[in-house]
Amino acid sequence: MPEELKIRVNEQLHSVTADPHTPLLYVLMNELELQGPRFGCGLAQCGSCSVLLNGSEIRSCVTPVSAVVGKSVTTLEGLPAWYAKQNKLTNAPALHPVQQAMIDEQAVQCGYCFNGMIMQAAELLSKTAQPSESQIRSAMNGHLCRCGSYPRVIHAIQRASHLMSAELENPSNEGTRQTPPAEVS
């Protein structure tokens, strides 16, 4: 039976009415009208539906909406702001460095899998700033691409890693680092 649930998505609290067993994906797509997470398999096999839950990638197609109450969901749409918060930048950039690197590498073909590719890569770089190629392959291995964009995605993640270390060491363009360090609530 539908219930009213409060879920935090991209730093906003939303009140939604849904059966608590409804997979989070359907709530994000149809109630919150987000376009990042999308249906690919409904089986947690492919990664189309990936979102971050408290900063870790999960498959929203098999996660009941009730399981994210009290936690923080970030979708592709909220990724630049999440990145800014993670790195204590006062202004969110237009794009997360991974997104920018995907454009710079022209990595996309059909692009349907890129929601998951970008979310997973963002999680990886938030935890391992300079991953080796084999760390990248291993972290990304649960994300499938039917077009065969893997080689360019790997290059893009490497590029983003360089971009981020440069940007975070020398904050000039996109966002400014807050000093002294302060938690953004």
Binding site: E33, R146, Y150, I154
Partner: protein, 755 residues
């Protein structure tokens, strides 16, 4: 997000908050769709009216706006290959605009011209001449207007970024822009195709590498895929079918259906027409649950051969045979030849498996219908839908939104038909999406194949005889929805290119005096549904053919590359062969000819292969490792080269080559549709695995630019070459020919054991 009345079908969706733009009919996720203004067509152009636009009018092909930009109407769909940007490059080139000044619109049977379907990687080859010619004719008309306005003869006019100036002697002070000349007004000009186009030597944009125009939005999440589109008042639909398709002839018969079994899902409904069954619900998850929970049983005859006995069954069929090519006397040349190679090679059914299952939206009314889908051919889909809905074709409007990559004829038409049938039954707009098992299970697969090859070389290492016999069934002409709902009798396509033994792949790159190619058409009714899958049959041909060439090279004691060079005179085939040999430093790393099994557990090998689809020239080198204990093949590196004539945007072709190499590795190592005597059993990414990051080779794409040649396809041709290269690399590593793909560990171990 205001609440709506209880009668509202879609609570909490406010369709009127569509960015304040003009709404006609419906909105799409805040993006106004296909309104006149949103289409950029200009209010004075009568677009969006019923019926296809007239291809004999310049206004059908492009419009110039007051802000000095242009909208180009393209009849080819974007499938993630970048062809839309390439075709805009061609238009901008002829109009002397830059890339920021051109855009296009989505395909729509009421708006965009009918250029035929987006098949055979032909967007540039078949699409660009008309678009180039229309742009040149529009430019000529604009220059005539400018000449009058500026009082200068056309010969003195120069154009840059859509601004016309008078050249020489201080004339630059006089100028007028395209926008000032015609901004948003119609040309009212017949399209004659007679205006001269730019010579290649004057190209500024064509041949360069502007970035794709769809990538920024695809990266930010703003890109509207078909799967994002919503209609006001729509219900969510799902199809209900047996898990995994049955034989094409048998369809599926409903034996029993218990509508009460979904009574626990409020508002969910079962709809049925013949043996077509679907469910509808206001909320998507309820539709998914209803499809899952509905109690239904099916009568399914056990007439499939099963994937374990597929090739024996195909080979035993009474086939209709056709000599595709006969030259010289193969039998005579084979007699007493110095080197003879022969073998049978087998290929599986493979799935399109688009990453996001196909979806469609339909609003079928008593006198008209709107269907939004991801078809490769909006006009052909419209005609079929009209028949199913019982409406005249001009009363059906089909709009294209890009879905996920389709790689040929996946379930997009089936989904469009299913949505239309459900909408007509329900009298409501319907959004339908296939589930993963629907898409994997009811695909029109790339048909399985058997190739038997016999070839011979003489003492001078010249190939003197070549025979290829190929067995496969043709494509399926009827979609499952129509078959189940209205009993349309299943039928196969008639023989045609891409369904038959292909002379370009089967020895066509080599100079062989005696050739016989025979096609054996297997009757397809008691097999799986089939259709074109990226590079149709070409991987199968090259797998068989290129291994045969390697076997001749081995017998002759020649290096695989050197042997091929000796047998090629066509400079375009030679060009791609040399390009991949050079990139892979083939000659700098000599190896003995493949001959015997190495003693080690891990053996390395490399292979070179040639292949194509129908046009263009593909070459590839693959470097692999084989673990002889586990049977696991690991592809380390692949090189792929294409000569597709004039490459409008070499960067996009490089991206296509990269994708083809990876997809070819996936198909050669992993991909195989499995089925029992009743149903397909490979229904998801676990039972139908594809290549993953950890298995992905490094890839090196090479575009052989040929400014003096017509543009030809570039979306599939390297796959065939890559399939051959991978098989030959296995032979190089192990001394054993793989007779069947995918080259899974079990097959590899069996092949090594019997060697």
């Amino acid at each position: 997000m205001s609440g709506m009345s209880a009668a509202s079908l879609l609570p909490r969706r406010n369709f009127l908050k569509a960015g304040g733009a003009l709404l006609i009919g419906f909105s799409v996720r805040g993006v106004p769709a296909n309104t006149l203004d949103a289409q950029g067509a200009g209010a004075s152009l009568a677009r969006g009216a019923a019926g296809a636009p007239d291809p004999k009018q310049i206004d059908t092909w492009l419009a110039i706006h007051a802000d000095n930009t242009a909208t180009v109407y393209i009849g080819y769909v974007e499938l993630g290959q970048g062809s839309t940007t390439s075709l805009l490059q061609v238009s901008a080139e002829e109009l002397d605009l830059d890339m920021s000044q051109v855009r296009t619109v989505r395909l729509d049977t009421n708006i965009t011209p009918n250029q035929g379907g987006t098949y055979s990687s032909s967007s540039i080859a078949r699409g660009s001449p008309a678009i180039r010619s229309a742009a040149a004719e529009a430019r000529q008309a604009l220059l005539e207007m400018a000449s009058k306005k500026l009082g200068a003869p056309i010969e003195r006019l120069l154009v840059s970024r859509g601004v016309v100036t008078v050249g020489g002697m201080g004339g630059e002070s006089q100028s007028v822009s395209y926008g000032e000349l015609i901004g948003d007004k119609s040309f009212h000009l017949a399209f004659t195709g007679k205006a001269p186009v730019k010579p290649v030597s004057e190209y500024k944009l064509v041949g360069t590498r502007p970035p794709r125009n769809d990538i920024p939005e695809k990266t930010s999440g703003q890109y509207v895929y078909l799967q994002h589109v919503r209609l006001p008042g729509m219900w969510h639909g799902r199809i209900v079918r047996p898990r995994g398709q049955t034989a094409y002839s048998s369809g599926a018969r409903v034996a029993s259906l218990d509508e009460q079994s979904i009574a626990h899902i409020p508002g969910a409904r079962v709809l049925r027409k013949g043996d077509f069954v679907g469910v509808l619900a206001e909320r998507e998850w309820d539709a998914v649950r209803a499809a899952r929970d509905l109690k239904i049983s099916w009568d399914i005859p056990a007439v499939l051969p099963s994937s374990d006995h597929l090739h024996e069954a195909m080979r035993a069929e009474t086939t209709s045979d056709r000599v595709v090519l006969e030259r010289g006397d193969v039998d005579d040349a084979l007699k007493g030849a110095a080197h003879v190679a022969a073998g049978q090679y087998r290929a599986p059914y493979q799935a399109h498996a688009p990453f996001g299952p196909n979806a469609a939206l339909a609003d079928a009314k008593p006198d008209s219908a709107l269907v939004i889908c991801s078809t490769q051919d909006v006009y052909a889909t419209r005609n079929t839908l009209a028949g199913i809905l019982g409406l005249p074709a001009e009363k059906v409007r089909v709009q294209y939104y890009e879905g996920s990559g389709t790689y040929g004829h996946s379930c997009y038409d089936d989904a469009a038909q299913a949505a239309a049938i459900l909408s007509q039954l329900a009298g409501k707009p319907v959004r339908l999406q296939f589930m993963r098992w629907d898409e994997h299970g009811w695909d029109l697969y790339g048909p399985a194949h058997i190739g038997e090859v016999r070839a011979a070389a003489d003492l001078n290492d010249k190939i003197i005889a070549y025979q290829y016999d190929g067995w496969q069934h043709n494509w399926s002409a009827v979609e499952t929805s129509a078959q189940l709902a209205i009993g349309t009798k299943p039928a196969e396509w008639r023989d045609g290119a891409a369904q038959m033994v292909n002379p370009a792949d089967c020895g066509g790159m080599y100079d062989i005096p005696n050739v016989r190619l025979i096609n054996h058409h297997v009757p397809g009714m008691n097999y799986l549904r089939g259709a074109w899958l990226r590079s149709p049959l070409d991987l199968s041909f090259s797998f068989a053919s290129e291994q045969t060439i390697d076997e001749l090279a081995r017998q002759a004691g020649r290096d695989a590359y050197e042997f091929r060079k000796r047998n090629i005179t066509n400079d375009r085939w030679m060009g791609v062969l040399e390009a991949v040999a050079k990139a892979s430093r083939w000659n700098q790393t000599p190896r003995p000819p493949a001959s015997r099994l190495s003693e080690g557990k891990m053996v390395a090998g490399r292979g070179i292969g040639l292949g194509t689809h129908l046009t263009s020239y593909g070459g590839a080198v693959a470097e692999i490792e084989v673990n002889k204990e586990t049977g696991k093949v690991r592809v380390k590196r692949m090189y792929g080269a294409i000569d597709a004539g004039l490459a409008v945007n070499p960067a996009f072709i490089e991206n296509q080559i990269s994708g083809q190499l990876v997809q070819a590795a996936s198909r050669m190592l992993l991909e195989e549709v499995t089925f029992s005597k009743t149903n397909v059993t490979s229904l998801d990414w676990n039972s139908y695995p594809i290549l993953r990051f950890e298995e992905c080779p490094e890839v090196v794409p090479i575009v052989v630019q040929r400014l003096d040649q017509k543009s030809t396809g570039a979306g599939e041709e390297v796959m065939a070459a890559a399939a051959g290269a991978l098989a030959c690399a296995f032979f190089d590593a192990t001394g054993v020919h793989m007779r069947e793909f995918p080259m899974t560990p079990n097959r590899v171990l069996a092949a090594l054991k019997h060697a």
